[in-house]
Structure formats: C-alpha cells, structure tokens
Symmetry: C2
C-alpha cells in the first residue's frame, strides 16, 4: 500500500504493547473498561511507569495524577518536547482511544534508545489523567488542571456516583503526586490519536495532519406545548411539543449541511413527556450542538439557530426555552508543529490530509500554553467510544512513525 522507507519504530513491539495494555480492563466483547483512577487504571499506570523506568526514563507524577516520563536531551537548558495521550477509557471503550498515543510515545522512546539517538532537547512522554470524564463527569481533567482551565481544588472535589472524590481516588491508587499540577514551559506537544471519525478511512488516508480543534456551541432546549388526547384533539387545537422538536431537529441538520463537510449539528439527546402512545406530547427536552472549524461560522450558527428555532416554535404554538450551555472558540494548532507532522508523513510516503479535530482532546488544552499539533490515524468505520473500536497494526505503525519524526525533528531543530 505504501513505501515504508525510513521506518524506524518497531511496529510489532508497539502492537504487542497495545494488546498487552488492552488486557488490563479487557471486556468480554473485546473492548476495554479502564475507568480513571480505579484499580484497573492503577494497574495500567503501574505497568506504564514500570516500562518507562525500564526504558531509562525519569518518571514524575503531578498533583492531579498526570504522569511525565523524561528522556534527557543533549542540552539540559532546552525546553522539553512533550508527547502523549491518556490511558483511561470509556465504560465500554475500545483498545486504542488514548492508549495508542501513550504507547506509541513509549515506542518512540524505545526506538531512540535502540538507535542510540540523543535529541538536543529533552523529551517527555505524558499520560494525562481522566481524559474521558466518564467517572467524575468532567472530561479532559488532567490536562485541564495542568493548563489552568480547571482549578485543582474543584477537580479534587468532584465525585463519582458512589460519592468518592477525585482526591480520595488519587490517593487510593497512589497517584496523587508531589509535582505541581500546572503548566510548565515546554517547546512543543504532539499527540497521536485515532480519528474517532470516518474521514481518513473513507478517503484511504493513513495520516490526518490535525490543524486544530473546532469551535462549538451547546444548548439545552425545552419545547413546552400541551398534553392532549391523540384521538380527540383536532389539528387546530394541538400544541405538539414533539412536532416542534422534530422540526428543530430538521433545522439543525439543514443548518449543518448548509456548511458543507465542515459543518456539525447534532441533537443527540431527547426526552418526551408524557411519552404515551395516545397522548399528544406536551413537553420535549433535547440537546442541540453545533461545531465548525471557524469561530465566525459558529457565531453565525449561534445567531441563526435561536431565531429560526423560535419561528418554528411559534408556528407550532409551542413555547421554546433555549439555554446556551457554552460556546468554545476554535483552537488552531501551531503552524510549525503542524508542518513537522506534514513533513513526517511525507518523508515516510504516507497518504495524508489535513483535518480538524471534531472531538475534544488533551491537546486542545495543552495548546493554550505550548505549541501543539496532533496526528490522527484511521479507525474502522469511524467507530470509537465502543468496544468494537478497531484499527490495523500498520495504521498504528504509521501513526507512531510520524510521531517519531515530528518529535525528533522538533527536539533536534537548531534554535535561532
């Protein structure tokens, strides 16, 4: 499929490492359940730490449990080049979401050792705590605290469904570390991740050169009509909250499609009340979200949507309560880091395309402080957050090799 000249990393070692990590929290259906700060997570972390130490890396843990494994550079005064991802999973997650970035990072370290390469700048491999947010309800927790988006005390106080706090859970598995959980100066951050979408697979690209993360706006909507008997209520007397919601769902889809392939617009959650077969629904609660690479486009969506949804509600005789939950600007990645990913893919002869991340990633927060880029690799059917999540060994190899190229190039560059 491709000329794998210049390949340095050991694809088999990486794959074995992925399969071995996937045994920790393995589910019967071939997925992984490695919820953050659980005993299963501890086993994953312990193995990762042991492997880092065996590779000669110096491991530190910060106050929110982020693990940093450092390989010295030739020049101790240079800022480190960071790379990594997360080892925690969704409750019914897959083997690769997060783990690929961490274990490919470890493979980069092994390869450098094998080849006897000493980079100019130090390297630091990172495992961020609680990327998924499944247990404590707050995704990107470790990178969020590190980058100053969440206060450490606020993160510590979050509880799981059994009332266990993050702080207690960190202590419970021995990963409340002594390092401050705060951004430190770094030269760059690279994160390899599966795409979690179908674009690369559909276009048969091996590498996604991630240029940034989308802007997004999220809403909660409540359509309030009037319950009434489905058999006795004539059309003119209906205030059908579900018909209103349905037309707004169609609006969201049309607004998305009007933006072409970069548009995202989704109603993912919807609850009908009273939800009885022969009652015209009186109330429907639903979520609405839009995403787009351009802040200006999200601003336009945010201006257009409430207005047009309001017209629909009025036509339906239904009251619409629309609450904007948040609006996050786009996070463009660093042009220099993006260029290194592009060059790495080109050097190896991999097919590649630029892509904007639709999902949230630790890299999006890290990018607020550190020049950042991401590398995507395809995943089968675009499926993720699912036990059926699947990638091919050569896809993992390609991603890890591009990570290697970008990291080594960055850490070896001549500073002005």
């Amino acid at each position: 499929m491709t000329a794998q000249t210049n390949q340095r990393i050991d694809g088999k070692r990486l794959w074995d490492s992925l399969m071995s990590m996937a045994e920790i929290g393995a589910t019967p259906k071939g997925g992984v359940r490695r919820l953050t700060l659980t005993e299963v997570d501890r086993r994953g972390r312990d193995r990762f730490r042991a492997e880092c130490e065996a590779a000669g890396l110096a491991v530190r843990v910060d106050a929110i449990g982020n693990i940093f494994a450092r390989r010295p550079g030739r020049d101790p005064n240079r800022l480190p080049v960071l790379f990594g991802s997360h080892l925690d999973s969704q409750p019914s997650g897959g083997k690769y979401d997060g783990a690929l970035g961490v274990l490919a990072g470890l493979e980069v370290m092994h390869t450098l050792n094998d080849l006897g390469i000493v980079t100019e700048a130090p390297l630091e491999l990172v495992n961020w705590t609680d990327e998924e947010g499944s247990r404590f309800g707050h995704s990107l927790m470790g990178s969020g605290v590190w980058s100053g988006v969440f206060a450490l005390d606020k993160a510590y106080a979050l509880t799981d469904v059994e009332g266990v706090t993050v702080r207690t859970a960190l202590d419970g598995i021995g990963y409340r570390g002594g390092e401050p959980a705060a951004a430190f100066p770094a030269d760059a951050y690279f994160e390899l991740h599966i795409e979690q979408g179908p674009i690369l697979e559909r276009e048969a690209k091996q590498i996604g050169i991630v240029t940034g993360a989308q802007a997004m706006v999220w809403y909660d909507a409540v359509a309030i009509g009037q319950d009434s008997h489905a058999g006795t209520t004539p059309p003119s007397a209906r205030k059908d909250a579900l018909v209103c919601a349905a037309r707004i769902i169609d609006l969201v889809d049309r607004m998305m499609r009007a933006r072409g392939e970069d548009g995202r617009g989704t109603v993912g959650q919807l609850l009908v009340s009273p939800n009885s077969r022969n009652v015209v629904p009186g109330e429907v609660r639903f979520s609405v979200e839009f995403r787009h690479p351009s802040d200006a486009e999200v601003d336009r969506l945010d201006a257009q949507f409430p207005r047009e949804a309001g017209f629909i509600a009025r036509d339906c005789g239904v009251k619409l309560e629309l609450t904007q939950l948040f609006k996050i600007p786009a996070q463009p990645f660093d042009p220099g880091c993006i260029q290194l990913v592009r060059e790495g893919a080109a050097k190896l002869g991999y097919t590649a395309r630029e892509i904007v991340s639709g999902a949230g990633h630790d890299a999006v927060y890290v990018a607020r402080h550190v020049p950042t880029a991401m590398i995507f690799t395809p995943c089968k059917d675009g499926l993720s957050h699912n036990e059926a999540e699947s990638i091919e060994p050569e896809e993992a190899t390609a991603g890890a090799q591009v990570l290697f190229e970008a990291v080594v190039a960055r850490a070896s560059r001549v500073l002005a």
Copy 2:
C-alpha cells in the same frame, strides 16, 4: 345561556352524586384514582349498587363484573334500553371520565321514579368493568368481553404488575357475578361521556351528538442508523436515526393536517438510543397512529404513510422497520339512536353539534350488537386522563337531561 324548559332531571342531585363518588379514591390534587377491581373500585361499586337497589332497580352482575341495574317497563316482552358507562378511573384520573355516564344514568332512574313514569320497554343502567385498561393493560375489558371481542378466559388470565389476575381480583372484591358475560338482546344503548377533547368547548356547544367512532391504524417504528461521534462525523457520513424520525414526525403531522379538522396523526412515544448529547443517535423507536372518521381515509393513510416514511428513511441512509399493530374500522352509531340524541338536545334548546368520538368507549363495542349512540358534554380545556379534568354542573345537567330524553323516547316508542 339557554332556555332550560322541559328540564326534568335534578341537576343538584346529580352533582352531589358525582362529588360523593369522587370522594372514593380522591387524590390530593382533586382527581380520582379508582383503579379497576381494587378495594377502592369495590367501594364505588358497592355504593352504586346500594343506590340502585334503593331506587328499586334489580341488580345483576355478570362473570366479568359488569353491573346491570334494571327498571321494569310496562311490556316485559320488549327488549331493554341500556345506558351507562364506567366507574373505574385512570391512575391519575378525573372525577367525570366514566362516572358522569353512570351517575347521570342513575339520575335518569331517580327522575323517572320521581315523575312516576313507566316506560314501555325495561331500562338497564350498566357499569362496565375496566374501561380504562390501566391496571391489566387491556382497555374496554368488560364491554369487550360482553360483546365477544375478548374471550372471557383470556380476560381472566390478564395480570396486573403484581401478578394478580383479573379473575382473582374479581373474586377479591366479590364482583365475579353469576350472569354470563355475553351480549344479550337489547333495543338500544346510550352512553353519556365527557368529550375528552376541546371541540365542544371551543365552539361553545353544550351537547355533542356522537355519530360514531373513528377508524384508526397504529404502528411501531424503529429507525436504525449508526451511532457516531457528533464532533467527528461529517454530514455525508451520518446515518442519524433521530433526523429520520424527526422527518417522519413532520410527515405524520402534515398527513394529518392534509385531512383537515377530522384528521388525527400522532407520534406520542419516542425513545432515542444511545441518547447521549455528543453522539449522533443510532436508533430511535417511536409510535405512529392515525385516526379518521372514514375507513377509506384511514386506508389511504395506511397506504401513503409506509411509502413516504420509507422514502424519508432512504434519504437519511437509515433503515426503517415499520410494524402495523392494528387497524380498526370506523364504528358508525345507529341513525335512529343518533336522531333521539339530536331531538333531545333540540327539545331542551341546547346548543349542539355532531361529533365523531376520537377516544375509545364501551359504546364502540356495544354498538356491534345493539343500536347505539353517545352524548358528549364539554370538559375544560379538553383535558382528561388528568386530575385537573373539570366540567361545570350545568354541563353535567345538560348531558343527563339529553340522556333522559333519548332513553325515555326510545323506551316509549311505538314499535312497528
């Protein structure tokens, strides 16, 4: 508001009787919870039976618990004129749904006694068992068994959520009677009921002359798309089951409105999976129902809907599984009985209009064997199956008076 000449029934006695019955199973919010064949239902039945006996009526109970209270006519060979409704309620029901028809029937008997009128034909006031279907999941049970729509054994074997069978529940309250639960020859059946819809109130009509019951067709629908990440899945790769369902909901509403004020089309129940804010929904299950007074129109709806819904699903890249649950023909009522209701309303000077019943009623089953008509009275905001169900005393009086006129006219008519 109206000239109440010729009024015979005692409106105050009727209202007191309604309020008194409403105390049995009264809820804090002013409604009634008198679930069929419970201890509360027994108290309602016992009071009704006692009042019938006190009024000189001969009470029989059949094997499914239907209660018949007979007043002799002058000619014992004539077939009886039946009238009544049901005393059971929804779990959070109102004071009038069902009770109005039974207690107005009792008021008719009292009035005849007061006036010393002996009709030619015997009269029988009926309380049908389990109209609501809330406890055992099968509405119109007593009239259904009586009319041969449900087998008695099948009805006996139905269980409530605690596993209690209908038979056990009948025995438990002492209402598994000795009479066969089967239709017997009768001259006519009249049922007074609140409209449970907004039409009479909106048009300020005191009486609905019910000409029959709607035809209906019910479906279960499952839209099967593909779960995918809301942030990463571009428009062209989406198989959004909720967008598909939304467009079908809109279709149902448009198909209803294309039939004018007689059309009914409702999606009352809908469940989204996985129902997560940032996941494009992969599966949506929902109910669809259409009703119309004309069988031909329901046939057309039944031909059009699966075809057009299928086109929508195909456009959405979603698989649609559509199952027709049942299709019930319209039940026209008897022209002679309808005419007596019309004449009764006219005689009293009540404002009236013809109306087709949108809800199911015992009368619809009885009509299969016995010439039948119904009388509707308005209810506030068309609200029913709700503790806030409300009517005015003069509305109850008007309905009972028209019932009186129709019953007496029918039972006194000269047979050819």
